[in-house]
Symmetry: C3
Subunit: 400 residues, 3 copies
């Protein structure tokens, strides 16, 4: 069911950053309880291929970069991307405006495409604002607030020109474009580096903190790797937002896996036993949440794993299976799917009971070595989990 490991691209440890999530970009009507973006083998293959980079352009061909200052250490961008902010179909239940970022206008989604960088890399992203002034005006309450969309990023380095804020005038009016430069500064003796699990988001829509942009879906995950970091086989983004926005829905759409033939996707978390699965966990909105996975745990470190020869210090690091996060917090963990616990339907949910009861819960489906879910995996009921009902046709398709 899953692509065989041989289909996965080379890990390319020293290569420049790659943009992930292309396949996930088609997930528009996510309406997920946990907003999950799949960035798995397929996404990597597509983004990393030599012929399928519609959004990547050569460095030389980007004159607009001259308008952006570079953070110290970034001599010239190593790579360029285009990013589009577009309006998606309104939420079918609430009628709320939905916005998304995409590598192309047609593939915009929320969360947006997951970005990947490696320490040392400098990335130029040109944001095209295709959201109409009318929509953006509708999302603000203060008529003096400017109309635009922006790109603000956590963790990596950027100058005021790439801050994505109103006061720095680093946003994009409707119909315009602007190039943002991110620098994944490496760790040195005096710098802690920028490797980590981060996110990017609008900081302008609706007000000076971009609250309506975030609420509408203008955010995505970013992972910055360090030379030597373990590469995951699959990457999923799980975003914990407010009941008003993305996450707290009472529907089957938290998990749209086909129980017979599960295909990895934004709302279908699947892995084969033994695969290294990476979660990028994002908190946003107004509320606290927790990230809990059944049967799996991780070290509370930068990546969820820990190595080291200093036994006493290694032994001092907490191992956890539940982690609290507030808005703006991001972290990532790498776990080995089914390690010691076998295949099965492993719940992944917020442990705030009223959140999980309202639907902030999904499942990590761990398949056996043959890519199959054992009929009675671990002795569980042969019926699929309650959330596992097939998604309505087209739920993963951009109808825009």
């Amino acid at each position: 069911m899953l692509p065989p490991p041989g289909d996965r691209p080379d890990p390319r440890p020293a290569s420049p950053a790659r943009l992930l999530g292309t396949s996930a970009g088609r997930a528009v009507l996510v309406a997920a309880v946990l907003a999950v973006t799949l960035v798995g083998a397929g996404g990597l293959a597509l983004a990393g291929g030599t012929t399928a980079r519609p959004a990547e352009r050569t460095v030389e061909a980007a004159p607009e970069a001259r308008s952006a200052e570079r953070p110290a250490g970034c001599v010239t961008p190593d790579r360029r991307l285009d990013l589009y902010a577009v309006e998606l179909p309104k939420d079918p239940v609430t009628g709320q405006v939905r916005l998304g970022y995409g590598l192309t206008p047609q593939t915009a989604s929320y969360p947006g495409p997951t970005m990947e960088m490696i320490e040392g890399e400098c990335l130029a992203i040109t944001l095209y604002n295709q959201v109409t002034a009318s929509t953006l005006e509708q999302l603000r309450t203060d008529p003096a607030h400017p109309v635009g969309v922006s790109l603000h990023v956590h963790g990596v380095k950027y100058t005021q020109t790439s801050d994505g804020t109103v006061h720095s005038a680093s946003f994009v009016p409707p119909g315009g474009s602007r190039t943002y430069i991110w620098y994944a500064k490496p760790r040195t003796a005096t710098s802690p580096g920028t490797a980590g699990y981060w996110w990017y988001h609008d900081h302008v829509v609706g007000g000076p903190h971009g609250t309506q942009g975030l609420r509408s879906g203008l955010f995505g995950g970013l992972v910055v790797r360090r030379q030597g970091d373990s590469r995951p086989d699959r990457t999923y983004v799980t975003a914990f937002g407010d009941r008003q926005t993305i996450n707290l829905r009472r529907s089957a759409e938290a998990d749209t896996c086909d129980p017979v033939n599960p295909q990895p996707g934004p709302t279908c978390l699947v892995a084969k036993i033994g695969e290294r699965v990476e979660f990028i966990v994002i908190g946003l909105g107004d509320d606290m949440h927790t990230f809990h996975v059944h049967g799996h745990s991780w070290a509370d470190t930068r990546t969820g794993v820990v190595e080291g020869s200093n036994r006493a210090l290694v032994d001092s690091i907490p191992v956890i299976d539940n982690k609290t996060l507030g808005p703006g917090d991001t972290f990532g963990v790498q776990i080995v799917a089914g390690d010691s616990v076998g295949p099965g339907h492993w719940m992944l949910h917020c442990h705030m009971q009223f959140h999980s009861d309202l639907g902030m819960s999904t499942t990590l489906h761990v398949l056996d070595e043959n890519g199959q879910m054992p009929p009675h995996a671990g002795g569980h009921s042969p019926t699929p989990p309650a959330q596992g009902a097939p998604a309505p046709a087209g739920a993963h398709t951009n109808h825009r």
Copy 2:
């Protein structure tokens, strides 16, 4: 007042896990502001004794274990326990249903008995559901939700058969029993291990997340130790739940110590100066809380202590005296009672002001070297703390 150190059992660092909390199991009407379970010298002695293990059975005599799959690494359970889920007397103030786990039906309590394991051990626990179908039906709102009780655990390894969830059919209907297998996987070069402070809880009562089971009291603490870990002299469980459940009560019952002759118990936290006191801190429910102790602090590590020869790294570890936790979070700390600060009535409370003002506060009573509270310890008022009123007769007795 406290048993002399000589009465404590051997630390037995390499022994298999032992179940703690037997003496605490009698505390049914806890109604505590901080739900506190004492697992001190007495509890250890009882559980570890050779003649007083009513709930432990030999490995060979447990055919029901054949129905449970074992997580990888657990060849066969090293030890077996029985656990009973029973209905306790209703909350005298709110009339709310109270449920508890116990090593015997007569000693069920909430929180339930504190479990202790050591890395490498595999434990089989047979849960007997003695809660009536009528009570369980009363706690659900969805008539399609099954009626049962389960055992879900954090941190250690288990297969889907021991997940304790509805979708895996690993729960126990009224009158039934089921064996759950927990494996405390050791730390290796590729595994972070399972040593830590965890909890176990129902995941079925009322709904697929066991919210009503948790709310009623079906949870308890679990500590998994690593070879070489320091052993505490006393272990207390402090659970921070919602105002609706356990913790936010405005009564004297947060601290039922007899001020003249304090006896350690679930709502009487006592230690002699110099003793190593361990707290297992559990967050549950819907809200955030903080764990704060006056006069004492700890390193923010797996155990609250830190050792190591790498000075720079050791110096990098934060030392704290207040730690935020969300539902599902657990941590543990070991502190030396009265270290540098002497005997006295040291407050232990949630630092959210409206929580502490509503009663989420208790006291760690640190006695002097003679096991006495100095009449004017540290110059304090000779009157006992406000919360220190004697408990109503029988408050610690299971009236069921």
Copy 3:
């Protein structure tokens, strides 16, 4: 604009603790969105000078210290300070009572003066309660609750006589005084030490947890340094409280910098590029918050920096730019202003969207090497940030 580095005092790494914040003490009408106390070069110079220590007295001249017990390790106080609790002008908007601590009655402020100690030091602070009984009675709801003000501290060691609580009778009635002794116990093989970012606060006003004292402003920051710790060039305190108290104001007063000639102050966070800026971050009240700074990040360690030769362990430490904190939590970070990102107006805000939208946001103004804000720093709009309106005359002056 900023004092040249040459005006800064010697770092004096081995000197005893010094009290900071004298200049900040004049900020009474802070009314800040983020309650910020500047403790910069000026404050250090004043507190560290040999002729300008009005609040420091010789050890020999303090007979009242005899009434206070000393924590183990404190042979005799190394230094003495006076601290005054006074009533400040009522909040001009809400009419709420405002209280503050000050090194002199005239310089009381909220937050109070920032304290600095070094591990090994023992400090005696005599608190004079100049708040009237009438005001204190007004702040309590329970007529049986005593009337007084106290000093409770986190992180350092103290006996019950310095606990600042009701039950220990360690508070100060109106018109009275009391000496509290704090001991910054050093790190040893068996003690984690007390170096860290802490706070002190009242624990008596209004009720046994001092909720009304905290709400009114009776708190301040404390940093305990370890021998060898990096010294910052500037220290700011940012406190995150409830909407009812300090932080959530919708006004220009979150940032009162003069955009032409910014002067560091409690509500004007300024640094020159390359300066090491230290934030002491305090959570108080009832709510959760997050501390987020644009363009800057730090290691999640005791000081925000990390050193060490064990590469694997150093690489395991998370680097973050957003940190959640609950009431009672404190942490500190040292960042290099503008490192890699250049000068500019860098936002500092709570990432809970409804908090930042209500005004829980300010700006770290990073000047260039000449102490100037480039006219178009980083390409930003030449207009000052929205919050940058000049403060009303006298906003930094104690009108009392």
